[in-house]
Symmetry: C2
Subunit: 344 residues, 2 copies
C-alpha cells in the first residue's frame, strides 16, 4: 500500500491540509496516510527540535510527503523554519523544486492585456545548493567592523541534474536564468553545464536571460515562457512572481522532487499565515493543487487533471475564499472542489 | 564651471545620449561636458581595456557622469561590461543605486486594476557589496567534479550607509527586503543594521519583507511601496520588476551615488540593445530622465521636475517610440520633449 507522510505543520497548515486530504481520499487511490502532527512550532518550542531522526525515517519510508505550512510568529529567529524545510530538502536530496504557474481563470490575472494573461509555465528551481548552502560566517560580530559572508555554491553535478530535469519536462522550450554577467564563478559553471545540456537535447527550443531581465519579461508577458530553470535563490523569487501572475499564493502549489529516487515532498507555496490562522478563511486550493502534483507523481495523471479541473470549475463558479474575491470559508471552498470532482 | 563627464558607450547608448544632452543644454545651467567617446567595446577589442586610469581621472574630476549603455554582442564573456560598470561603481565608491519607478501615464501600466497602477516608489540598492563582491573561485574546473563559489559579502559599514540613505529619501515609509530566513549571516547583519537605523529614525514608517514576498507584492500592488531598500542582487532584480510596472525599460532611469562625496553616475536602466541599435528607434526617455536625476543631484529640483513633466507630456500626447506604442524615432521623441520643455 502506498503511504503518504502528512505534515500539517503550523498556522493555516492544518486547516488547508484537511480539505486536501479529503480530495486525496475522494480519488480512491487506496493510499494510506501517516500523519506527523507533532512536527510543528509547539514541539520545537517545547523540545528544541521539530523533526527527529524517527520522523525523518517515517518520511523516508513513505512514497511521498504532503506538507501544510511551517512557521510561527513566536519563532522569529528563522532557525525553526530552516530546520524543518531545509532539512527535509537536503536529507531527502530533493534537488528539484517544481513550481507550475497556470492561470485557472482569466479573472485571477493581475495583467491588463488579455492576450498576455494566460500564464502556463513552470519554474524549475535548484533546491539544494546556491545561497542555501549554509556555508559562511562572520567576524567582529556586533561591532561597527562586522563582516558577514554567505557562500553561493554551485556544483557541476548539482547544476547538471536540475538542468536535465528541466529538459525532461519541457513542452515547448527551456529558458536558463542566471546572472553570469555579474556573479562570475557560479555563472560560468551554470553556462558550461547549460551548453552540455543543450547539446544533449538538440530538439528543444532554448533561450537564456539574466535574472533582472527575466523578472521584467515575466511581469509583462509571462505567456512567452514554458520551463524556466534557475538557481535556488532566483527560483525562490521568480516563482513567487509567477504565483502572483497565476492568481496569487492562494492557488500556488509546489513539488520538491528527487527524480532519481522517486521521493517527493508536496506543499502549497504559501506560509503559515499567522494573521488569518484560526479564522477559517484560508484558501485550500494551493494545498489541493499540491495533492494534484502528488497524485501525478504517483503516475495518476488522469486523477491529477481531474483535481485541477475541479479547482478551476470552483474558481469559475466563484466558489472561492476572500483572497480570490469570494466569501467562502476554507471548508466550503474545499467542499466546492469535492462537489465538482464528483460531478460525472 | 560644472563639468559633466559623458560616456555614450555602445549600441543605442550614443543614440539616446544625444537627445539627453540636448535636454541638458536646453536647461541652460551652464554645465560643460567632457565626452569620453572612446570608452566602448571598440576600444576594449582593440586595446584590451576600455577604461584607463586617465579616463577615471577625468570622471573623478567631474561633478557627475552620464552614461548611455555598455555592452556588445561580440564580447559575450561579460568581463567587458563588468570592467566598465563595476569599476566605475567601485572606484568612485558609488554605494547607492537609486532607481525611482513612477508611472508617467496610466496608459503605460501593465496592471489590470486601475487603483493599483500608480506606482511611485524607489528601489534603493546597495551597489558595492553582496554577490558583486568579486570574491570566489572554483576547483576542478571543466570536470564533472567542478565546484564554484561566489561570496555574498555584507559589511556593517556598507549596509548601514545604504540604509541611512534610504531613510534620508523616504517620503512615507521604508521597506527592508532581505532573505534573512534562509541566507543567514548576511541576513542577520542586515537585520542588526536595520534595527539601528530604525532606532535613529523613529518617525518613519517601516516594514520588512522577504524578497520572494516582495516580488509578489510589487507585482500585485506596487502602490503600497515608497522606499524599498535591499542588497545589490535583490535590488538588481526588483528594480527591473518595478521598471516593468512603471512603463518598461524605455523610461527607467537610475543614479549611482555617493551621498558623502557628492559623486554621481547617471544612466538609463536599459542596456546597449544590439537588436535595435542603428535603427534610430531607441527610446531616449530613460536617458532624458537620467538627466533629470543628474540635474536634481546638482540641486536644481525645479529643472528636474520640468524635464519630468515634459517627458510625461510627450507620453500623454503619444509622441513616443515603438516600445511605448508610438511611431516616432529617437530624434523625434527627443524633439517632442524639447518642445514640451520650451512651452511657457
Ligand atoms: C550589466 C549588469 C552587470 C548590471 C548589474 O547587474 O548591476 C545591470 O543589470 C544593472 O542593473 O545596472
Ligand atoms: C521559508 C523559506 C526558507 C522558503 C525558501 O526560500 O526556500 C520559502 O520561501 C520557499 O520558497 O519554500
Amino acid at each position: 500500500m502506498t503511504t503518504i507522510a502528512v505534515i500539517p505543520g503550523d498556522g493555516i497548515g492544518p486547516e488547508v491540509i484537511e480539505p486536501a486530504l479529503d480530495v486525496l481520499d475522494a480519488l480512491g487511490l487506496g493510499t494510506r496516510t501517516d500523519v506527523l502532527d507533532h512536527v510543528n512550532a509547539e514541539t520545537y518550542l517545547r523540545t528544541g527540535t521539530a523533526l527527529t531522526g524517527a520522523d525523518l525515517d517515517r518520511i523516508r519510508s513513505s512514497r511521498a510527503a504532503l506538507l501544510g505550512a511551517i512557521g510561527d510568529p513566536r519563532l522569529s529567529d528563522t532557525a525553526y523554519v530552516r530546520t524543518v524545510l531545509t532539512t527535509l530538502r537536503l536529507e531527502l536530496d530533493l534537488y528539484v523544486n517544481y513550481r507550475p504557474a497556470r492561470l485557472l481563470h482569466d479573472r485571477l490575472s493581475p495583467l491588463r492585456d488579455p492576450a498576455r494573461r494566460a500564464i502556463d509555465c513552470v519554474i524549475v528551481r535548484e533546491n539544494t545548493e546556491g545561497l542555501y548552502s549554509g556555508i559562511g560566517g562572520g567576524t567582529r560580530t556586533g561591532t561597527p567592523q562586522e563582516i558577514a559572508i554567505d557562500v553561493d555554491l554551485s556544483t557541476h553535478q548539482g547544476v547538471s541534474r536540475v538542468l536535465e530535469f528541466a529538459f525532461s519536462v519541457a513542452r515547448r522550450s527551456v529558458c536558463l536564468v542566471d546572472k553570469a554577467n555579474a556573479v562570475r564563478n557560479g555563472g560560468q559553471l551554470w553556462q558550461r553545464c547549460w551548453s552540455e545540456a543543450v547539446a544533449r537535447h538538440p530538439h528543444v527550443e532554448t533561450s537564456h536571460l539574466y535574472v533582472d531581465t527575466a523578472a521584467l519579461r515575466l511581469a509583462t508577458d509571462p505567456t512567452a515562457f514554458d520551463v524556466v530553470v534557475t538557481n535556488n535563490s532566483y527560483g525562490d523569487i521568480l516563482s513567487d512572481l509567477t504565483a502572483a501572475l497565476a492568481g496569487g499564493l492562494g492557488v500556488a502549489a509546489s513539488a520538491n522532487l528527487n527524480p532519481v529516487t522517486g521521493k517527493g515532498l508536496f506543499e502549497p507555496v504559501h506560509g503559515s499565515a499567522p494573521d488569518i490562522a484560526g479564522t477559517g478563511t484560508a484558501n485550500p486550493f494551493g494545498a489541493i493543487l499540491s495533492v494534484a502534483l502528488l497524485v501525478e507523481h504517483l503516475g495518476r495523471t488522469e486523477e491529477a487533471d481531474a483535481v485541477r479541473r475541479a479547482v478551476a470549475a470552483a474558481v469559475s463558479a466563484g466558489r472561492v475564499t476572500p483572497d480570490l474575491g469570494g466569501s467562502l470559508g476554507t471548508k466550503e471552498a474545499g467542499a466546492a472542489v469535492l462537489t465538482e470532482l464528483r460531478r460525472p
